[in-house]
């Protein structure tokens, strides 16, 4: 009798509190173990929702020094079997990011594996800004630009970050905040 009552109460509680999924458990672990460099931090618009959040990056060296870049992380219930979906919310001039904000990072695509943590993804994103990779481009013009001359590429990046044009395309001002 007592057991039945306990069971019923338990069931009531679990439906009220919503079942915590395997993906959420894993995300929770990853988030508590985050150790990001001072150039990065996370922001939870809804603290109840740990599956959707933003990551801010402010590179302190490289082509993009001084920029404020925001990424959106959307993690679905198949995590960690599927990688998190990451979008760059700023329109920036970068060989590995297209004008819609899609990010080409190998560990977010073909090289994803479930043992990778959210921390390693975030560090990977930062690396993309320290060392843009012309070999695996989403923005072909930017990649060719970088391949031809690092100095011209750097000048174009600088101009784009101020909200200027590169070719016909106007980019977001990411230097101010």
């Amino acid at each position: 009798m007592k057991q039945q009552q306990a069971k019923a109460a338990g069931e009531g509680a679990s439906t009220a509190a919503k079942k915590v999924t395997a993906a959420q458990l894993r995300v929770q672990k990853d988030l508590t173990e985050l150790s990001l460099p001072p150039t990065m931090h996370t922001h939870f618009a809804d603290p109840e929702d740990i599956m959707n959040f933003q990551v801010f990056l402010q590179p302190d060296e490289g082509f993009y020094v001084g920029a404020h870049i925001t990424f959106e992380f959307a993690i679905n219930l198949n995590f960690p079997h599927e990688p998190p979906k990451v979008k760059c919310l700023n329109k920036i001039y970068h060989p590995n990011i297209d004008l819609q904000g899609n990010v080409c990072l190998n560990i977010l695509r073909e090289d994803w594996k479930p043992v990778l943590s959210l921390n390693s993804v975030m560090i990977g994103l930062q690396y993309l800004f320290l060392e843009p990779n012309a070999g695996d481009p989403l923005n072909k013009e930017a990649a060719m630009d970088l391949q031809k001359s690092r100095a011209t590429f750097a000048a174009h990046v600088k101009n784009s970050m101020r909200g200027g044009y590169v070719g016909p395309e106007k980019f977001d001002d990411v230097l101010r905040r």
Partner: protein, 92 residues
């Protein structure tokens, strides 16, 4: 003096034959606990050890290997995942 046994609790301690502080790389839960979809640790939620020496909860690993994107590779070292032969599986 008579002693009446009112209650008796069987207590036994066991753990998988893997290093003490090892966690499943997929769910990040200690191997003495279950994978996230099981309630009771033990034979119902076994651990699979690959030839590459990486181990995972069987349920966690199967879910990964079922996906086309896994290409049958170990979630840790990306070598094709092969289990140790039947009689080599450690269950105590």
């Amino acid at each position: 003096m008579k002693v009446r046994i009112k209650e008796w609790n069987a207590v036994s301690i066991w753990h998988w034959n893997v290093s003490e502080d090892e966690v499943c790389g997929i769910c990040r839960v200690h191997f003495d606990g279950t994978c996230p979809s099981c309630k009771y640790p033990g034979d119902d939620c076994p651990i699979i050890i690959g030839k590459c020496n990486h181990s995972f909860h069987m349920h966690c690993l199967l879910k990964w290997l079922e996906l086309e994107t896994s290409r049958g590779l170990c979630p840790m070292c990306r070598q094709p995942f092969q289990t140790l032969g039947e009689d080599e599986v450690i269950t105590t």
